[in-house]
């Protein structure tokens, strides 16, 4: 009964989404006030229906209702409660339901927090989001219904993929989807503004905090995914340039560009048409990401058994969304040309360059991700584009971006001169050269020029961000910085930390697969790893072996690690690494396989300097995004417009 209620609520949500997508937009066009007024209640009702639907599916999981096919395939009575809950979005159908729920939640949030939007703008924004929701809900109901019954019911479910039985996965997809789907909001604002023919500073000011919040979620989602891959996949890598990772990274890059170009549009009224195009581009990449992940067209660690009808549906949906948006853009873009002048040496130019580089990087990654598909479709062979391609393209493009952070955030709007900027940056420039080159000499085992380059860039971003802070604080003290200034500072400091992490981990990590008999030891990175042997392990829905490895450094005890090899009921083996985390290095041990009867095991040992800094950097960037979005000028604006509206009515 409960699953039927969920199914029914889902169908109702589709019908409401259709109403929400059609009537407010037509109403705004024709001037029917009653149709315009439908927007808010429809959006909120749609959210409520999806909430009911999601709750029903969750209930089916918690009750282990194996008469529901999706539950029977992804859950098990012996699964711990928390994973029964996270199993709701552990596979295709449920994760799409989560996608739709999050979209409706964002829409409902717009209706609540966007009270000062004009009713026409609100109707158009909510309408566009309704159309997107219609497409997704139709996809969900017609190709991937999570409430499909399995009759007769089975006594026991198949169990959730053990890789996903982890706290990282409880958090990772919702975060990622909040980001992906959140970019629907700036997209809807851009489309709505084009429909209404008004692209002003107010539009940019409205889009900006929403974009920043979506970006924060996406940043956290990607960082969580990377962290999860690091400790749960068991092989110590934190980024594989896997197509599915790229699918989330491309909207992130485009979203980063969008945030920066929105800043120019808000402050200076420039780049309007470009910002609109970026908003469309960013959301299209989110949809493309969903297509790549969900259609199974790519060989990837994440790809699931393919269902061609699903892939085709998303591809068509993508074509409709991108096609219609671009057509609208072509028709309206000429009207939104900005007539704001700025000189070659100015902050605008720096941000323009930032955008060009970010977009070019995105396109290169897109090319590498889709290239195998294109070649295969042309019948020219089956190829794969590996990490070396992405590294060779990404790293050289990131270098000028890091340099621009310092130059751009110290340059003045509209017009500046190189001499003027040089005066501001010279201390940071010299300091970054000195510290960057000294760092690998003093702190690391050996010198490498790549490490020096990376550290020079990291210190450059760091010192120039400090300089920016000092400029802002001049005359008012550090407490006088606005939240949005803190946001920019944290965002950029996060980049510095991130570059440090990537540089030092990539260059100074050491890794070894070795055969160890109990009592054997192996030394790596100045640490001694002593293998004490393994013991039998019994878990709720798995059994396996647990190794004990004692780590010492120059005779002093450091830690004891207990890596595990588990065999789940579903028949899948799993590696649980033993990790000793530290600010300046991680020690990582994973069990491979037993090699003989004498208790010998293949063991993988890693020494990874500064790997935590990668995720720490992402966290600091996200903090920056939160600060910016919380800046009081957005709230002031909302209040002022509300008062103006109330005054106008009275």
């Amino acid at each position: 009964m409960i699953p039927e209620i969920g199914h029914f609520a889902l169908i109702l949500a589709l019908v409401i989404a259709l109403v929400q997508g059609v009537f407010p937009i037509l109403g705004a066009h024709r001037g029917y006030a009653s149709w315009v007024a439908l927007a808010k209640p429809a959006a909120q009702l749609q959210f409520l229906m999806l909430l009911v639907s999601f709750a029903c599916l969750t209930w089916a999981f918690l009750q282990s209702d194996f008469s529901v096919l999706y539950v029977a395939e992804n859950s098990n009575t012996r699964l711990p409660q928390i994973f029964k809950f996270s199993a709701v979005w552990g596979a295709h159908e449920g994760s799409l339901l989560l996608w739709a729920l999050i979209l409706s939640a964002w829409t409902a949030a717009v209706t609540v927090f966007g009270r000062s939007l004009s009713p026409l703008m609100m109707a158009r924004v909510v309408g566009v989001l309704g159309l997107v929701a219609t497409g997704f809900l139709a996809f969900l109901i017609f190709t991937s219904n999570p409430f499909e019954r399995l009759l007769p019911a089975v006594a026991e479910g198949r169990d959730l993929n053990p890789l996903l039985q982890d706290i990282g996965l409880v958090m990772h997809p919702p975060m990622l989807y909040m980001g992906y789907v959140g970019f629907a909001i700036p997209f809807a604002f851009a489309i709505a503004a084009m429909l209404g023919g008004r692209l002003d500073a107010a539009w940019a000011r409205w889009s900006r905090p929403w974009t920043q919040i979506a970006w924060v979620f996406l940043t956290l989602g990607i960082a969580l995914g990377s962290w999860w891959a690091y400790y749960e996949l068991g092989w110590g890598g934190w980024w594989f340039w896997d197509p599915v990772e790229n699918a989330s990274f491309m909207p992130w890059l485009a979203g980063t560009a969008l945030m920066h170009s929105l800043a120019v549009t808000e402050k200076r009224g420039a780049f309007k048409a470009w910002t609109v195009l970026l908003a469309i581009f960013t959301f299209s990449l989110s949809l493309l990401g969903t297509f790549l992940v969900r259609s199974g067209v790519l060989t990837s660690v994440h790809a699931f058994a393919a269902d061609p009808s699903r892939g085709l549906f998303i591809l068509l949906f993508l074509a409709v969304v991108v096609g219609s948006s671009l057509m609208l853009y072509a028709a309206r873009a000429s009207k939104v040309r900005s007539h704001v002048r700025f000189e070659l040496v100015s902050r605008e130019t720096a941000l323009l360059l930032n955008n060009v580089i970010l977009v070019v990087t995105t396109v290169s990654i897109l090319l590498g991700t889709l290239y195998p598909l294109i070649i295969d479709a042309l019948g020219a062979g089956k190829i794969s584009v590996g990490p070396p391609y992405f590294n060779a393209v990404f790293i050289p493009l990131t270098v000028p971006l890091a340099i621009l952070i310092g130059v751009g955030s110290l340059a003045r709007w509209k017009r500046d001169s190189f001499a003027n900027i040089w005066v501001k940056v010279r201390v940071a420039f010299v300091a970054s050269l000195v510290f960057g080159i000294l760092f690998p000499l003093v702190a690391m085992q050996h010198f490498s020029w790549q490490a020096a380059l990376g550290m020079v860039l990291a210190f450059w971003v760091f010192f120039s961000s400090l300089k920016v802070m000092k400029e802002y604080a001049r005359g008012r003290g550090i407490g006088g910085l606005s939240l949005s200034q803190w946001g920019m500072t944290f965002g950029h400091l996060g980049v510095a930390v991130f570059i440090t992490g990537i540089t030092l981990t990539s260059i100074y990590s050491s890794e070894k697969d070795v055969r160890l008999v109990p009592g054997d030891s192996f030394s790596l990175g100045g640490y001694e790893f002593l293998f004490k042997g393994t013991t039998h392990l019994q878990g709720p829905n798995y059994q396996g072996d647990r190794g004990e490895i004692v780590i010492t450094r120059e005779g002093e005890p450091v830690t004891v690690l207990y890596p595990e090899k588990r065999n789940y009921l579903s028949g899948m083996p799993m590696t649980e690494a033993g990790i000793d985390a530290g600010l300046t290095r991680d020690l990582f041990v994973a069990l491979g396989e037993p090699l003989d009867d004498q208790g010998a095991w293949a063991v993988r040992i890693y020494h990874k300097p500064f790997v935590r800094w990668i995720w720490l950097g992402a966290l600091i960037m996200a903090l920056g995004g939160v600060c910016s979005a919380a800046d009081k000028r957005y709230r002031l604006l909302a209040r002022r417009e509300r008062e103006a509206l109330a005054g106008g009515v009275a």
Binding site: A306, L344, I357, S364, S384, V385, P388, R604
Partner: protein, 155 residues
């Protein structure tokens, strides 16, 4: 600066960024592509010598053995498409889902002794999932096997 000069400067900066990016992309694509070959194609000599490629098929049942030397972990197994097969040597820990009779993709190059030296071995994270390349290679291998039988030709 005159407006015309300014526009020109903007254009120059934009084009140089694009140019550098395009150059990087083509360099990287040229050097870092790896093609997929089935055991049959490798035996027929279609795979490049001295260049990295990917070999895929099923791990032949009964072919797996260890050649551990001291603390080094070395595995040897045979990859087959049920028509032809190629021997593979891999130094390191195999993925969890590596199993005899299951699909596998190995990346590496051919050694002088006709053994494929793998740098990387991939087995999929989903036990029900067969990499599409491997599925296609098996189908092709099966087709060739049947054709050989029909014409009376053996291997």
């Amino acid at each position: 600066m005159k407006a015309r000069h300014k526009r020109f400067a903007f254009l120059l900066v934009g084009l140089s960024v694009l140019g550098v990016a395009a150059w990087l992309v083509f360099q990287a694509l040229g050097n870092n592509l790896s093609y997929f070959f089935s055991p049959t194609e490798v035996v027929e000599g279609k795979a490049p010598e001295g260049h990295v490629f990917r070999l895929g098929g099923l791990v032949q049942p009964g072919s797996f053995r260890r050649e551990d030397k001291g603390q080094a972990v070395v595995a040897r197994f045979v990859v087959t498409d049920n028509h032809q097969s190629v021997e593979v040597r891999y130094s390191g820990i195999l993925p969890d889902l590596f199993q005899e009779g299951q699909g596998v993709i190995a990346q590496g190059r051919m050694g002088p002794d006709g053994v494929f030296m793998a740098d990387e071995v991939l087995a999929k994270h989903d036990e029900n999932y067969m990499p599409p390349e491997v599925a296609a290679a098996l189908e092709e291998g099966h087709r060739k096997g049947v054709a050989n039988m029909a014409t009376g030709g053996g291997q």
